[in-house]
Symmetry: C2
Subunit: 181 residues, 2 copies
């Protein structure tokens, strides 16, 4: 499922951290060319997509429903109310699709419709306690592992990664804007 068969580069990473003795690779890891780094970014994208596919399969859910759940859990952490309308905008689907989506999530016990405190037209969506637990279990300690990697970097390395990622965001943002309107 788009995952294995290209492990070598990723797997080599930790093993090669022993300094090459001729060049001062401090604690920075192996040498990389620009092309290799871009290829690594591609590999990250693919690994991430594969992970989402696994999560989708594990929770028996389609992509949109999973995105909705993540949006709801995120909003819950910020104590934000989420109406169906908000979900429609966040997921870029029609309000009719959101109705169907919430029907599914409600039927599977992942979300509850609550009356909006100040607007009787609206519905407030609340993820179930089980949902939070299920997502955490499915993701394992993904965030912790990612944080550990980032926290292992020196300030200079963090700055380098920050610069790189910012550049990637800018590069990607200024693409495909040739659309009508």
């Amino acid at each position: 499922m788009t995952d294995v068969r290209d492990a070598p580069v990723a797997a080599r990473t930790r093993a090669d951290e022993a300094p090459s003795a001729s060049e001062p690779w401090f604690e920075g890891g192996p040498a990389r060319t620009a092309a290799e780094v871009l290829d690594l970014l591609r590999r990250y994208r693919e690994a991430e997509a594969a992970m989402r596919a696994r999560a989708r399969s594990s929770m028996r859910m389609n992509e949109t429903d999973l995105r909705a759940l993540r949006h709801l859990l995120r909003a819950q952490r910020h104590d934000d109310l989420v109406r169906q309308r908000d979900l429609a905008e966040a997921l870029d689907i029609s309000s009719a699709s959101v109705t169907a989506l919430v029907d599914r999530l409600e039927r599977s016990g992942h979300v509850e419709r609550r009356p909006h405190p100040s607007d009787r037209r609206s519905v407030v969506l609340v993820p179930t306690a089980d949902t939070d637990r299920e997502v955490r279990e499915t993701l394992g300690d993904l965030h912790a592992r990612m944080a550990a990697v980032a926290e292992d970097l020196t300030p200079e390395q963090l700055a380098a990664v920050g610069r790189f990622l910012s550049g990637m965001v800018d590069a990607v943002r200024s693409t495909g804007a040739d659309e009508r309107a």
Copy 2:
């Protein structure tokens, strides 16, 4: 469409490249915390997803068809033959879906069915000349901009980014594997 409203961090990047005078930020960009870097990665993911949505809309195509096209163009650069079966595996969809998919792409003039040189059961899929051009136009010089960012980094910075991305790949790969089989 999930894109704007969070520009500050990305926008700040280039502007802040002037050294802060108290700490030696060589040519490394602004200081970053681990949390900020992970947030940047999330922003990259969202920007990338938004770009794909724009490309999809611009070429009037769904996600799968676009992935198929990218796969075909990539294979063409490597002089690899792609049968429908290969596409089914690469995209993780059924052979029936591939038939429908290729029907669509053929009808829209993006791909041609050619006889396989040595297997008369198979069909070799070849992207049209226009397809390559259209994709290039849609993506603009995305790859050039990304390459420019990477090539602007020092070897130490490249190594740092490589280490970070490898770590992210490993973190993501070892997630959600709690699935049956």
